[in-house]
């Protein structure tokens, strides 16, 4: 059993939860995810890590309550427990193991969308802590869906909020903002996390400009340790398992259409909703 330390609604239907999980907190790195199971009959739901505090032993997740399982999860209050909380899963972001001096000379842009903004946060924080200023483009449907505004603004980063209707920040898609940045700055790397469709369009844009791009994939999975193969994606025409080979891949080599199709496998099942369903308009 894992204790919920806090649960706060931070936007329409989106919740920020801190879970006491000392082993996970101690090992967590930017780019990784966890699997949570609410109760005995719950399914195993993969969710990205949005922050962690190894001293406190807590891990933060941001959850959009859409399906049965995520609704059950966010209905729990602080002091209550989730049955299982396993992780950290997946490989840490490549940046972690790179030479920091080399990183300093790179111009990195993060592009997040919807709840995908949450896993962008620990990555930007990692750079910010090293004193490296990055650009961050975050897209939301409208101002009611904007999350982690204060957190991002407290970092050493140029944060560009975008909304479809212009109700907050830049009016337009993240790709519009990204193209502006590409034209005005010499960008070396783009990292994108969010709905598959958004990552696909980001990848198409950056390919045009020949900018290295990394996508963090959110696929269906059961165990998260390589066993089920449900998370398989085609990368450069090879089968890769998101959980053990990823979740980050070269976005220009990922078959996004196939990935999106696979993601809809269980769409009809009443009890199951993919965690990003319904929020494709970022």
């Amino acid at each position: 059993m894992f204790k919920i330390l806090s649960n706060e609604m931070i936007a329409e239907n989106i919740y920020k939860m801190d879970i006491l999980a000392p082993r996970v907190a101690k090992s967590a790195k930017p780019g990784q995810f966890i699997i949570v199971r609410v109760d005995d009959k719950g399914e195993r739901v993969p969710l990205t890590i949005s922050d962690f505090d190894s001293e406190r032993g807590s891990v933060q997740i941001v959850v959009q309550a859409l399906g049965h399982s995520t609704k059950k999860l966010v209905s729990l209050g602080s002091g209550e427990f989730v049955k299982d909380f396993a992780g950290p899963l997946g490989n840490a972001s490549d940046f972690i193991s790179e030479d920091f001096e080399l990183l300093r000379n790179k111009k990195v842009v993060f592009v997040g969308g919807g709840v995908g903004a949450a896993p962008v946060y620990p990555q930007v924080k990692f750079f910010s802590d090293l004193g490296i200023c990055t650009d961050v483009v975050l897209g939301f449907k409208n101002e009611n869906f904007v999350i982690l505004k204060n957190e991002f603004e407290s970092l050493n980063a140029n944060v560009h909020f975008c909304t479809d209707d212009g109700s907050f920040g830049f009016k337009g898609l993240v790709t519009d903002k990204l193209e502006e940045l590409i034209k005005s700055k010499n960008i070396d790397i783009v990292v994108t996390i969010g709905p598959m469709i958004m990552m696909k369009f980001v990848a198409e844009l950056t390919k045009k400009y020949d900018i290295k791009t990394i996508a963090s994939l959110n696929t269906l999975m059961v165990d998260g340790t390589g066993m089920c193969g449900g998370c398989r994606v085609s990368v450069n025409d090879e089968i890769k398992f998101t959980c053990v080979d990823g979740p980050e891949f070269d976005a220009h080599l990922v078959d996004f259409d196939e990935a999106m199709s696979r993601q809809s496998t269980y769409k009809e099942e009443e009890n199951h909703k993919c965690r990003l369903d319904g929020d494709l308009n970022v």
Partner: protein, 460 residues
């Protein structure tokens, strides 16, 4: 009944069991068990024991069954195996102990497996426990993986007085016994959980949700958490695929995914949240026990099922009993048939599997005749679901995050017969060393390693 005839085991009739998840075999009752046990000749040099990977004193326990002294029979079993109710159900006895039974020369061998199951079930039902007065010796050992190999190693070490912690990546202990083997062959609440609980009674701690290699590394377990030895029994978990066109269509699953949803996550039950997608017509590719399990699970979920296997019936790697059960239940066998492409509809869903007929050619390195395609023999089986069950490869999580541990070309950890790896204090056994094999071989490896770990710690 003459000595030649084996006491038949009662089973659920195929017509009924094909739509439920209750156990297929009812096992023996007391009368039947005593009668079957009375067939045992109690050989002076029992060949059955020589073919048991954990060397159970088979005539010994059977002779007590004959005398209706079931608690003594159970005590003997317990000396050799921590999981008798499991072994009695899933061991391939026909190629192990029972294959060497003298009675088998002229008739049917003693039903050793069914007797083992009877004794183990009797002990579980009567809550009979073997007295153990374990004195902790103050040494700590970590076991990675709570499958048959890890459970056996942990049990043996606990009996020797070690403080053992098992680290399990999933939320439930049991490994393949829990996620892989279906309820109708190995009931979870009746058999697996109680056998795991018996280990807890011995003082074994089980920490679930710990993914060694991610949550904590082996190096950390040794240097920071004070474990003096580590046994890796993490299994061969990664599913293989055929790399044929269409394999990533919706409706193509690995047997691991399909079975994990059904067994571990209980997706076949309406009161559980995990979804499962059985097709109306399902092709299961492969011919091993896992393929039979997936096929029979799909059948029970309402699918019409085809086993597609590239060799002939004789080479089917699955246990005879399981093939027989599958046929009785109405699974269709497309033998000497190999898939070449998975076809999908305009929405990306599977709509068929294109196969080619095969014939057997010269023997290959496995000693079996190699299947070769017959030209112009392609045909399509109309299915809306495909389950790939063509084997697994070792999970790289541990080997890639542990310093100084050697693996072979297939990614298996290299270990000697006692489980010693290239890394000091680290032992390994079961599928992570051998590649996918049987429950009982994994148990044998866990047992040898427990002994080697004890030797190492005592002699340092």
């Amino acid at each position: 009944m003459s000595k030649i005839d084996r006491v038949p085991v009662r089973e659920q009739s195929p017509d009924i069991r094909r739509s439920n998840f209750e156990e297929v075999s009812f096992g023996y009752n007391e009368e039947e068990a005593v009668l079957e046990a009375s067939r045992c000749l109690n050989c002076k040099r029992p060949m059955c024991v020589s073919k048991c990977p954990v060397s159970i004193d088979i005539p010994g326990f059977i002779s007590f069954v004959k005398e209706r002294n079931f608690d003594k029979a159970y005590e003997i079993l317990s000396k050799y195996t921590s999981l008798p109710a499991v072994c009695g159900r899933v061991c391939p006895q026909e190629v192990q102990c029972e294959s060497k039974c003298v009675l088998g020369i002229r008739g049917e061998p003693v039903a050793i497996g069914k007797l083992e199951r009877f004794v183990a079930d009797w002990a579980l039902e009567n809550n009979f426990k073997v007295d153990s007065d374990i004195v902790f010796n103050g040494h700590k050992v970590a076991v990675i993986g709570s499958g048959p190999s890890g459970l056996t190693c942990a049990g043996d070490l606990a009996k020797l007085g070690y403080e053992v912690t098992i680290f399990e990546a999933l939320h439930e202990a049991g490994g393949v016994l829990t996620y892989g083997i279906p309820e109708f062959r190995l009931p979870k609440d009746k058999v697996v959980k109680p056998e795991v609980d018996k280990l807890k009674d011995l003082g074994v701690k089980i920490e679930t949700n710990v993914i060694v290699g991610r949550t904590v590394t082996i190096d950390e377990l040794i240097s920071e958490e004070g474990f003096e030895a580590v046994y890796i029994g993490s299994g061969a978990g990664l599913p293989r695929f055929m790399n044929i066109p269409g394999e990533n269509a919706k409706g193509v699953f690995s047997a691991n995914e399909f079975l994990t949803r059904a067994n571990l996550m209980k997706a076949y039950r309406d009161d559980y949240d995990t979804p499962i997608k059985p097709g109306k017509r399902t092709a299961v590719v492969g011919g091993g026990n896992v393929a039979m399990d997936a096929a029979r699970t799909a059948l029970r979920l309402g699918s019409e099922v085809y086993i597609v296997y590239r060799r002939s019936e004789e080479e089917l790697p699955a246990r005879r009993e399981e093939v027989h059960h599958a046929k009785e239940e109405g699974i269709n066998f497309e033998l000497l048939t190999n898939p070449v492409e998975i076809l999908s509809d305009e929405n990306g869903w599977v709509k068929g599997i294109r196969c080619i007929r095969m014939k057997l050619g010269e023997a290959d390195s496995s000693g079996r005749r190699r299947p070769v395609p017959i030209e112009d023999s392609e045909f399509v089986i109309d299915v809306d679901s495909v389950i790939m069950s063509i084997g697994t490869t070792p999970n790289p999580l541990i080997s890639s995050t542990t310093s100084d541990i050697e693996t072979n070309k297939k990614g298996c950890i290299i270990a000697d017969d006692d489980g010693r790896t290239s890394k000091n204090r680290v032992f390994a056994g079961g599928d992570i060393v051998t590649g996918a094999a049987t429950v009982i071989l994994a148990m044998g490896a866990g047992k040898s390693a427990a002994k080697a770990i004890d030797d190492m710690i005592k002699n340092k």
